[in-house]
Amino acid sequence: MRLLNFKTAAALVAIAGIALFAIVSIEVQAQATAVDPAATQILKRMTEYLASLQKFSVHTQNTLEDVLDSGHRVDFDVSANVIISRPNKLKAERSGDLINQIFYYDGKTLTLYNPSDKVYAREPVTGTIEEMLDFARESLGLIVPVADLVYRNAFPLLMQDVTFAAVVGKSVINGVKCDHLLFSRPGVDFQVWVANGSKPLPFKYVVTDTGTPALMSITTVMSDWKTSPTVADSQFVFVSPKGAKQITFMPL
């Protein structure tokens, strides 16, 4: 009887082992086939190209889906014009339903200006655009439009936790032929449309929150890309308009 029990135990362990192996191999297989290297390669090419640009300007049109407290589905639109001059100059102008704001960074000071309210706030900062963006977000709670286009290490950031990647197909965004990519990671699905040819710029982004059943998205359509715009340093310097009043940032 004791011998029998031992045999049973051994057999059970063996079966459990096989079952475990089966589960693991199914998962590994699923993951290996779900991330299409063709998609990640296009994304990598795009991020490397963006990082290589010393200066660029772009117009973006953002649509934020939302549900009002009344339960009605509504879209908010914000358009932005962004000019970047690496390493340390940025100007971003946003206007739309929710916001009418200009953001300046001249390498020494960041300024946020609301033209319609005629108020602005300034904060001394030094460093690269990336360092300034980190500071703005962490210390002041500021969101700067298309900040994600500026980061030089965008590729590993975008690919973090990605469980699925695919090339959906080809489409034309604002007259530009693009590869349509789809990526998924826990809680977020994102789609990117990357131009074909020698300038692999993004022309559209859709980020969907898959953490809630409503599947809300933010859509950004980019146009008017200029990869070597003529910029003057003075463009990035805020000059207080007559009658504008200085206020402060509320510390986080």
Partner: protein, 141 residues
């Protein structure tokens, strides 16, 4: 014989559990397993909160964008939720109270180079809370 029976029962049970746990089947032994593990909640929080911490530099663009949405979209809701205090001289609000709009009929008064707004028994000062322009009750000095 008994042993074989025992083993096969266990094996079949294991196999059944495996099948039931396969993702393509609608049946799941532990529905919302990821929610239980906190994955979903964590993700929701990560996307809701404005990306902070040093890890934020490593946070993906996608998340930054999703982070921007609730924050930006919150503006109109906030406006609706935080009703402007009554214009008539009501009870003064505690210092540091944040409102998204000034009460009607506020008058502006510069005190020591700072613009204050007076209305409903309170002085307000304009400040940026993140990207949002808000008004905070303050004591002019």
């Amino acid at each position: 014989m008994k042993t074989i029976l025992k083993i096969s029962v266990v094996a079949i049970t294991l196999a059944l559990m495996l099948i039931a746990d396969l993702p393509f089947l609608p049946v799941q032994l532990v529905p919302e397993a990821d929610a239980i593990l906190g994955v979903r909640r964590r993700t929701a929080r990560r996307t809701a909160v404005v990306v902070g911490s040093t890890a934020s530099a490593q946070t993906a663009a996608a998340q930054q964008q999703t982070a921007a949405a609730p924050q930006q979209a919150a503006a109109p809701q906030q406006a609706a939720a935080v009703a402007p205090p009554p214009a008539a001289a009501g009870k003064p609000l505690p210092l540091g109270t944040v409102v998204s709009a000034l009460p009607a009929g506020c008058t502006s008064t510069p005190v020591g180079g700072v613009e204050y707004y007076y209305g409903g028994g309170n002085f307000y000062r304009a400040v940026y809370q993140g990207n949002n322009l808000v008004y905070v009750t303050a004591k002019p000095q």
